[in-house]
Subunit: 459 residues, 2 copies
């Protein structure tokens, strides 16, 4: 069965196939650290829409699973492939077909990296706003498949708000065009939005028309604030929002993260406070806003630095940037979580994390996008992501339950993939879970598109 | 059959039922001027989610169609009800359950008017951005069901970008919660986006969690520019966008509209130019942006007025506001169209409209949201919307075909309803049309939710 599908792929797409052992092995995992069971059959390195269509047609005829994979930077195991699966790589599809300054849009292939695209757009005074921390290594197609968030979402929106239209190859190989080239368009159901965040389970994104913004120019002041407690820092960030100030970036690190960073860098950040709030403002009001924010933070007891000097700014930003490296350097496995809660419940979530860490005897360090209540509690444990100890899953499970209790969600921006599928039903409720599965079956009746991701296989 | 469903509704919802003849008659039409065939059975004036659920449960058991209706301000006949149909009115469901300044969100019932809600939000320094021209008379639920646009979309987005979560009653009466209370959330498919713009065909929106923005304060300069030609005006508006300037409002009226307004108001606008570009800027850079825009318009040959005086501004804005009244006052029926094209194709669309008007001997006046390429060609004809002469439909049909040819859409913001269902397939293509219908059947297997709207009944 798998032999004959490979034979057909070879006949149709010979030079695009890759059987290299190291390459196949690499597709078994992503940045989550999870591994698929077994090894995929082959990698199809698609170079065109026609290649994707041919792959799907053959896979569909044989009922062979296809895992679409961009840059492999996912954090939920959504694009990892194992036994009996075809990897459909979009890495070679990275052309920019069009940049229209007049329409503030571009048309691109899915494999182009976010950072690569933005470097090109900047030459035209344009910018694609989705800004995941992974932008240097994550693809536009992956950003769309996951509805990526990032640091700038409160001010500039998530990926969904920056995609106008998509070309998608369906499970049977037919090409579908959804969305509009115009800012507005209301012709029936929004299948473009349905595709965004569908994690490769409804179709393969082969082209995207992206909505761009004028590049934000001018000074970007950076404000670093050390607060006596996480509650003080969170209260200050809430007050910033309440006053209608609109930081571009507003990141909050807890004391565990600060200690890990202090250990890693040798610089004693932790002694300056229990929580670090990092803010950048941009646009026409950047300087005014920065001044108001700094004054507010000082009033509320913070040790504050403000700078417009790029080097000094970099050192303030580096504190945040070193977070994961510092935790990684602790030399054990880590599970990066991704809950989001309404902004005014963040302190409760931080408290719950402390409580969970204590009860389970775990080290949990938490950076967060304070502007939108998105926390990344990072559990450090002995073992590997392939074999997460049960008490770590239990701790994660308690986290999710708490986030839901606070009116939040178990995934703000990393998606479900394999990592969180067992909790999806808890958040969605039975009826919505069923409706989502029915939509999946409607688009993919043979269940060949990334099967087992998002929805656990039925028993 | 219809007797027994009414009997059951009476038993369950007695005081909520309305059989008033004038009220039933009013539900046969909306602001499009179309009329449903026959008269609906009854109006259920729901006051709670439970009322909506009870109505749907009974209707579902009997297979009786339900037309959900907000304020009846639609422009595509999506909420008009006729023979054998139940009108489910949300007009009495207009509570604001919550306004959260910290989370910049509010939770409301669907019947509240957009303007009514925004008046309340303003007291808290907040603002819900969707800004259809109908905001004083259109409901939030209707805005969501249609994914309403308006004047401010280029800068502030369409309705979809301003809705976080929805409670929806499904065809069988079950309550579904979709979306998130947080800015970010990626748990499976985006059913919240799927509901937005679904025109009452997938479920009944009974509660909405809306994403708010800080109220934009400060001076709002208004710029009125009369250009020698529509091409000059469109080129100027394109140049404004190209330079990264971000007007809040950018409206463009063609010479036919200007003449109608001149006739209506007695003020000779038309002699000042062939096209009127109306711009407002807001936010921190409002004055700078207004200055740059005025200079640019003058360079390009426009007769320009700029003002920050509210009264003078009102008179500039009134030119636009009087557009539909002026056309309406021509005393015949009018068909308000709603095509959108990429911004750089607007001139071609205006040219095509002139050509169509000439060939069909019709008066077509066109106001447009130039910032997002959304035109409202308004065809004046003798007759009524109930019985549109075939040559008018043909002219409209040519318009849609042209808009599609230019990479546009046949509905920017008014929706499909009854008015445009016959052209929907042309835009979507057969496969997408089928997929949309399959989604409809999945949510509403008995086809009781607004049947015949969006999708024409199968022959």
């Amino acid at each position: 069965m798998s032999d004959s599908v490979v034979t057909e792929l070879q006949a149709a797409l010979g030079p695009r196939l890759d059987f290299d052992e190291a390459a196949l092995e690499a597709c078994r995992t992503d940045r989550s650290g999870m591994y698929a069971t077994g090894r995929p059959l082959v990698i199809v390195r698609a170079e065109s829409i026609a290649d994707v269509q041919a792959t799907l047609r053959i896979a569909h005829a044989h009922g062979t699973p296809v895992v679409t994979r961009g840059a492999g930077s996912g954090l939920a195991g959504a694009a990892i492939a194992g036994d009996g699966e075809i990897v459909l790589s979009t890495e070679r599809m990275r052309k920019i077909h069009e940049i229209s300054v007049d329409n503030q849009l571009c048309v691109v292939e899915p494999g182009i990296l976010n950072g690569e695209l933005n470097a090109e757009l900047a030459k035209h005074g344009l910018w694609w706003a989705p800004d995941p921390a992974s932008k240097a290594i994550s693809s536009v197609g992956g950003n769309i498949a996951m509805n990526a968030g990032g640091l700038l979402c409160t001010k500039y929106g998530v990926t969904r708000e920056a995609v106008l239209a998509l070309k998608v190859v369906l499970a049977d190989g037919e090409l579908l065009e959804v969305g509009h080239r115009t800012v507005k368009g209301v012709t029936g159901y929004d299948l473009c939005a349905l595709m965004i965040g569908s994690e490769g389970t409804l179709g393969v994104i082969v082209e995207a028309t992206l909505q761009l913004r004028p590049l934000v120019t001018g000074v970007v002041p950076t404000i670093g604030c050390y607060f006596p407690s996480i509650a003080d820092a969170a209260a200050c960030s809430a007050e910033i929002t309440r006053r209608g100030l609109q930081p571009a970036i507003m990141e909050l690190l807890d004391r565990h993260m600060l200690r890990a960073i202090a250990n890693y860098t040798g610089i004693d950040f932790a002694s300056r406070g229990e929580a670090y709030l990092l803010i950048q403002t941009d646009g026409h009001a950047a300087l005014d806003e920065a001044e108001s924010i700094a004054a507010l933070a000082r009033e509320r007891g913070a040790d504050v630095e403000v700078t417009t000097d790029p080097e000094a700014a970099a050192s303030l930003v580096d504190v945040r940037r070193n977070g994961f490296l510092a935790v990684e350097a602790m030399g054990q496995a880590m599970l990066v979580e991704d809950v989001a809660v309404p902004r005014d419940r963040m302190v409760e979530m931080f408290d719950a994390l402390d409580d969970i860490a204590e009860r389970y005897g775990l080290f949990i360090a938490t950076p967060s996008h304070a502007g939108d209540g998105n926390l990344h509690p990072t559990i450090v444990f002995e073992g590997s992501l392939d074999d997460v100890p049960e008490h770590v899953w239990q701790a994660a499970s308690e986290m999710f339950t708490k986030a839901l209790e606070l009116g939040g969600t178990l995934s703000g921006e990393h998606g479900i993939g394999l990592l969180k599928r067992r909790w999806l039903g808890e958040e969605l409720g039975m009826r919505q879970y069923e409706l989502q599965q029915q939509i999946k079956r409607l688009f993919d009746p043979k269940d060949i598109l990334n099967p087992g991701k998002v929805f656990a296989p039925e028993q």
